[in-house]
Symmetry: C2
DNA sequence: CTCTGTGAAACACTTCACAGCG
DNA sequence: CGCTGTGAAGTGTTTCACAGAG
C-alpha cells in the first residue's frame, strides 16, 4: 500500500519508544506533533518526521488520534504480543528489576530470574521464580523469553552472554559494569551506571542540553 | 595552546567514557587504537578520531601509553576530583544503586540517599545515610553533590527535578519510568527500562547490530 | 486556517585512505 | 615499518520551509 518505505533510522527507533510513553501520559483523544514534542522534549518537526516512517497516521489540520497512534507504535516496536524477558542475576539489581512493576503494563512478562547460587534457586522474588543459570540456554531455546537483562557482576557477564547466544537470544540489555561487545547475531545495549555518570560529568559546566541520543 | 578546533561531538563523549572502562580492563602499558577498538566494539578509525579531540596523545608507530591516556580521559570527563552523587529514592532501585560498588573506584562518591519516608530517614543503607527529601535543595546548594540519580516512582520524579533545579544541580540521571524534559539549565539523561526493552523489541527479527549510540 | 507530510538544505558523525612521525 | 592523526568523502540525522489535505 505505502510501498518501498525506507528503513527506520536507529535514532528514530529510540524516540518512538519515548513517544509511546509520552502519549500514554498525555491521555488525550487527539494530539498534535507539537504536543508530543513538548511532552518529550524534542522538536515538532522531529516528531512529524519520525512518525512519517510509520506511514501517514495523522489528520491534517487536526493532529494524530491517540489510540490509533499507540497501536501503530506498538505494532512497529513489535509489542503486539507479550514479550518474555529473563532477568539474569538475583543480586541487588536483579531483585530491584524483578520488583519493578512497569513490565506487565508495557507488554513485557518476566519469565524468570536466573542465578548460580543454589540457595536462591527455587525461591521466588517478587512473585518470579528463580531458576539455575544452567537452564538459561535451554529455556532460551524453548522460547520462554526473547529478551534477557544481564544484572550480574562484571566477571560473570561474558559467560552469560555466551549462554544466551547459544540459546539463540538476539536482544540483550546489559546492566553489568562491563562493556559487552555484541556478536553479529545480537543486539546488545550496554547501560552502565559509571558510563552514564561520566557522560554527565563531562557536561557539567558546559553549554548544556538536548535529549539523549 | 592547542586552539580553536575543540568542541567534542556528543556521540564521542559517550564513547570516551567507554574507552576509559575498556582501558582499565585491558591493563596493558601501551595500547593501539585497534586494541581499544576491539575491546569496546567500535572501529579503530573511530577510536583514533575520538581520541584526537583530546589533542595528540599517541606515539606514532607504537600506540597510546595507557596511564597517560587514562589521565587525559579523566581530565576531559571532569573526573580529576571526586564527584559527589546523590541518590533520590530509597526503594528497591535506590537501594540497589547504593549497594553498587563501582562508584568509589571510578571517581564518584555517594553523598547521601534522599527519601520522603520518615521510617527510612536517619537509617543507613549500604553505609550511606538516608536524609529527608526536604533537605535535597539545601544540600545541593551546599554542593554536597554535583550529580543526582532519580530512583523514585514516576509521579514523584517531576517534583524531585524541580527541587534539584532549585538547588542549582545541572546533571541528572533519571531512572524513574517517566520521561523528564530537561530545563535549559540541566542535562538530564533518561534511562527508562521500558524504553530500552521497546528498542530491543524493535530489533528482534531485523537485520541487527551496532554498538548503542 | 491549522497541522501533517516531505523534498531539499544543513548539519553531524563515521569511514576511508594516506602522509608522515617515531 | 607500524601506527597515529587528519583531510576528504561518504553516510546518517535534523531542521527548514512549504504544498496541500481536511
Amino acid at each position: 500500500m505505502w510501498g518501498a518505505m525506507r528503513e527506520i533510522p536507529r535514532a528514530t527507533v529510540g524516540r518512538l519508544a519515548r513517544y509511546l510513553q509520552g502519549l500514554e501520559e498525555l491521555g488525550r483523544r487527539t494530539v498534535s506533533s507539537a504536543d508530543i514534542a513538548s511532552a518529550v522534549g524534542v522538536s515538532a518537526a522531529q516528531v512529524r518526521r519520525d512518525l512519517s516512517y510509520l506511514g501517514p497516521q495523522g489528520i491534517r489540520g487536526v493532529g494524530y488520534e491517540t489510540s490509533h497512534l499507540l497501536t501503530a507504535l506498538r505494532r512497529e516496536l513489535g509489542l503486539v504480543d507479550r514479550v518474555g524477558v529473563a532477568i539474569v542475576g538475583a543480586g541487588n539489581l536483579g531483585q530491584a528489576l524483578a520488583g519493578y512493576g512497569g513490565f506487565e503494563h508495557r507488554g513485557f512478562v518476566v519469565s524468570g530470574i536466573y542465578d548460580i547460587d543454589q540457595e536462591k534457586v527455587g525461591t521466588s522474588i517478587h512473585g518470579h521464580q528463580v531458576r539455575h543459570l544452567g537452564r538459561l540456554s535451554a529455556d532460551a531455546v524453548d522460547r520462554l523469553f526473547a529478551i534477557a537483562i544481564i544484572a550480574t557482576p562484571a566477571d560473570a557477564a561474558p559467560e552469560v552472554l555466551q549462554r544466551l547466544a547459544a540459546g539463540g537470544v538476539r536482544s540483550v540489555l546489559n546492566f553489568s559494569p562491563t562493556v559487552l561487545k555484541a556478536p553479529a547475531s545480537m543486539e546488545v545495549r550496554n547501560v552502565d551506571l559509571s558510563t552514564e555518570l561520566q557522560i554527565l560529568s563531562f557536561y557539567r559546566g558546559r553549554p548544556p542540553n538536548g535529549l539523549l541520543p
